[in-house]
């Protein structure tokens, strides 16, 4: 029987013939950790008596959850992170203002390539699957990888999703990515890698693929990746040093399931509280008043998202009731948005533009919400408390729907503003 992308990657890095279900100790070629966890892993390593990392050159640390220190405690933590990075000799350190969102800029900068094996602290590292890498989040067990170079992994099965059809007018990839996790359901993807392919993939750019790779982790997938194609190689040319070899699944690979999924989801989609897979068409929730709107996070903070929002905002102003925050994903995205005049358009419409990174989605430490308020945003999760208050309602949607809602002061169908 042939092998899936995941089995091929794990076979290469372990040097063994790996099949789904095998217990392996694969050594990652990149390890990413974000600002808020650095102090914790340092403490854990100190307790274990570990004075040097297994391979500091594989480690990338970024300041994205709280790039602008908004309290004295945050400034102290940032200082401590810089000291820890220096102590362990970690050279790939992207401090505030240097990269942006750690699930996005490493792809832009060419640190991630098809067939690469990555492990990380944070769950949405699965974004790296946008260029065909296998990226697995470990939470606190990343400490073992830092100390010993690997941790045990049960090689996951793969659910293959073949994308078909075309986006319907007024919808975007985020609408598809959100509805997909609702339609697939947690049980079917539990502990599997979601692998995208199919004829419609060619119509989706690398930024859109980040979004497709972002949502399935929230229903219990082990990881998510896209079968690399010509677009992948075009995107990586000039970013990655050296040759790039696409790794694809064999035709007779043993998938857990093969699913066809049509990009035409009919209308913009909205995830309603309290989980990202509670998804309905926008028409079901249109008219609900909102106080807070936000475009950003690792799920949707690329140039395409900002353009979609700008298209709605052009000639409009943010509703008086609404605080509207735009957080470009990376320094590169922010600079490009400036060049295109998007930042000026947002500023003139009454939006706040924040430092690239996670934005409010990182627990609402920056630009959060108060009790009784309602937010609609492009963040990753809508659990109670995600934006600070435990008593706020959070809706998730694509950038166009969020922008339309910010203008309308209530959840709105962006197609009504585009006519």
């Amino acid at each position: 029987m042939g092998k899936t992308i995941t089995e091929k990657i794990l076979s290469r890095v372990t040097g063994d013939d790996v099949s789904a279900g095998d217990i392996v100790y694969p050594e990652p070629e990149l390890v990413t950790i974000h600002d808020w966890y650095v102090v914790n892993f340092d403490k854990a390593l100190e307790e274990l008596g570990v004075e040097r990392l297994y391979d500091p050159d594989k480690v990338l640390i970024c300041t994205d959850h709280e790039p602008v220190a908004v309290s004295p405690a945050a400034a102290e933590r940032q200082k401590k992170v810089r000291e820890i990075v220096a102590k362990f000799g970690i050279r790939r350190f992207f401090d505030a203002g240097r990269g942006g969102h750690g699930h996005v800029f490493p792809v832009e900068m060419g640190f991630v390539w098809p067939g690469m094996f990555v492990e990380a602290y944070d769950v949405h590292v699965t974004n790296f699957g946008a260029v065909g890498a296998l990226a697995i989040p470990l939470l606190i067990e990343i400490t073992e990888v830092l100390a010993c170079g690997s941790v045990w992994l049960r090689a996951p099965e793969t659910v293959r999703v073949n994308l078909t059809g075309k986006l319907s007018a007024g919808t975007g990839i985020r609408d598809v990515a959100q509805k997909l996790i609702c339609d697939l359901g947690a049980e079917r993807v539990d502990y599997s890698v979601v692998e995208y392919g199919g004829p419609a993939l060619a119509s989706i750019d690398i930024a859109g693929r980040h979004t497709l790779c972002n949502t399935p982790i929230d229903i219990g997938a082990k990881s998510v990746l896209v079968e690399p194609d010509g677009s992948t190689l075009d995107y990586l040319a000039g970013r990655v040093d050296g040759p790039v070899e696409p790794v694809v699944s064999d035709p007779d690979a043993g998938f857990r399931e093969v699913v066809d999924y049509d990009l035409d989801v009919m209308e913009p989609q909205v995830a309603v509280p309290p989980t990202p897979d509670c998804v309905v068409g926008v028409s079901e929730v249109a008219g609900r008043a909102v106080d807070h709107a936000f475009i950003g996070s690792c799920a949707a903070a690329n140039l395409g998202d900002l353009r979609a929002a700008a298209e709605i905002l052009a000639g409009n102003r943010v509703h008086p009731r609404v605080r509207f925050i735009v957080t470009p994903g990376t320094q590169e995205v922010m600079a490009a948005a400036e060049t295109e005049g998007l930042l000026r358009l947002f500023a003139e419409a009454g939006a706040m533009i924040t430092q690239p990174g996670c934005g409010p989605c990182a627990g609402g430490r920056i630009g959060g919400v108060a009790d009784g308020e309602t937010s609609i945003n492009t963040g990753t999760r809508n659990d109670y408390g995600r934006l600070g208050s435990q008593k706020a309602e959070i809706y998730l949607a694509g950038a166009a729907t969020v922008a339309a809602s910010a203008v309308s002061g209530e959840i709105a169908d962006p197609r009504d503003l585009l006519d």
Binding site: Y25, A147, C148, R154, D190, Y191
Partner: protein, 178 residues
């Protein structure tokens, strides 16, 4: 380490929640990791007297999706605290990992096992080989044992002791793979 458990069967059904059924959620929120504390609260969501009824070597036999929910390790540490074994029809992925990391000898993927036992039966289970005997009913089954690399982690005592063992090997210049 002794991998063969001989003791009384404690049978449970499907979908036991790791939070609430197996262990009160508050211990996860308090990040309590001491098996000697957690043992006194094991399964009290279902049977408040459970911690006083069981003896070391007894075996919990459960149905599908044992330990479902937000994966917290405390329930498995509570089982370890009593010296019990676990045989389940299935265990969801997060809890499977926690069971290994708690250093618990267990079998997962034991289809139909709850049909072979009743609470109070005398069981003997070899967790190294997967050999399962219901001595009360004179019935034997063979279930898939844990992978040898996972048995090594359980044998070491779970995540922390296994990590310390790997570090010691690393410092000695040896292989760090279990």
């Amino acid at each position: 380490m002794n991998w063969t458990y001989r003791g009384k069967c404690w049978k449970f059904g499907d979908n036991l929640g790791i939070d609430g059924d197996v262990m009160p959620l508050r211990f996860a929120l308090e990040r309590e990791l001491d098996p000697a504390v957690l043992r006194d609260w094991l399964m009290t969501g279902i049977d408040p007297d459970f911690p006083r009824k069981v003896s070391p070597g007894d075996i919990i036999v459960a149905g599908r999706r044992f330990g479902q929910g937000n994966p917290h390790i405390q329930g498995f540490l509570g089982i370890v605290g009593h010296g019990l074994g676990l045989v389940a029809e299935t265990i969801p992925r997060g809890s499977f990992r926690n069971a290994i990391n708690a250093g618990l000898p267990f079998l997962s993927g034991c289809a139909g096992v709850t049909g072979d036992v009743e609470t109070g039966d005398d069981l003997e289970v070899d967790f190294r080989t997967g050999a399962f005997h219901n001595l009360t009913r004179n019935l034997s089954r063979r279930f898939p044992p844990l992978d040898a690399r996972l048995q090594a982690i359980v044998e070491a005592g779970g995540w922390r002791p296994n990590l310390e063992r790997r570090l010691a090997r690393l410092r000695a210049g040896g292989s760090v793979v279990a």
